[in-house]
Amino acid sequence: MTRSFDEERLGELLRLLRPAPASWVRAAQELPYARRTFDEIVARAEADLAFREALVADLESALALEGYEPDGRIVAEIRARLTES
């Protein structure tokens, strides 16, 4: 643990924890919303055959058409889920 606190050392330590890129932080903060979107899309795909077929045919376009704008990670998860089932 820190015991000597000269200004130079404090400056070095303060420089060490730089802000992560804002877009990374924002994406991480939006995870709850993203997960809800994922769950909603998967539930719809399981209940609505036409929606599921549209997703399988062209995932990005089908999502956009329905007003969903999930990020790439969620799209990849949906694609994987569709492939599994």
Partner: protein, 186 residues
């Protein structure tokens, strides 16, 4: 009711588990620099790998928060998640370098420094907002006196002395914390 920024880690985790999105925002805010530092300073990941690990760590944390028995252990839990994912990124990325080569002999001391830096950052949170702001702008964001002067609307000639004063207060804060820690361990 406490605002998320003033909550302990244990309370923050509890609120996150209850679906409080403001608490989740605070959890990410509180630990984003720490996770980022482990990726880029501790393991020297490229920006691309660091971004993947960063997002994956918070995704896993969000999905597995229920499995964290003791919410006050959030920081070591996140550190462990991050280290594992960094190692996966290094070993699974088809790199020719080994983990030892990437981290070098100084790898463990880098991790110790990150821990030390986090403790200092926690102490910074005990200072006035003005001090928190100017120290962060100058040291962590590399802003020049000119930029700080323009953005905070304060004379450029007073910035060095303001920073020095805030560092003095930070030193006092840290010494107080260490004395308290020493006292409680005796």
């Amino acid at each position: 009711m406490s605002t998320p920024a003033t909550l302990s880690d244990a309370d923050l985790v509890q609120r996150c588990r209850a679906g409080d999105s403001e608490a989740w925002n605070e959890l990410v805010e509180r630990y984003s620099r720490y996770v980022y530092a482990i990726c880029v300073r501790g393991f020297r990941l490229s920006d691309e790998d660091a971004e993947d690990v960063f997002q994956d760590v918070f995704t896993r944390a969000f999905m597995r928060l229920e499995t964290l028995r003791d919410g006050s252990a959030l920081k070591p839990w996140l550190a462990q998640l991050t280290r594992r994912r960094c190692l996966d990124a290094i070993s699974g990325g088809g790199r020719e370098q080994s983990v030892e080569e990437v981290m070098g002999d100084e790898g463990s001391s880098d991790m110790e420094e990150i821990e030390e830096a986090f403790a200092v950052r926690e102490a910074v949170a005990g200072l006035s907002e003005a001090c928190q702001d100017i120290l962060d702008r100058f040291f962590a964001q590399d802003q020049s006196y000119r930029t700080i002067s323009d953005e905070l609307d304060i004379p450029a000639g007073t910035i060095a002395s303001r920073i020095a004063r805030c560092l003095g207060k930070l030193r006092t804060e840290l010494e107080g914390r260490n004395e308290a820690a020493d006292g409680s361990s005796e």
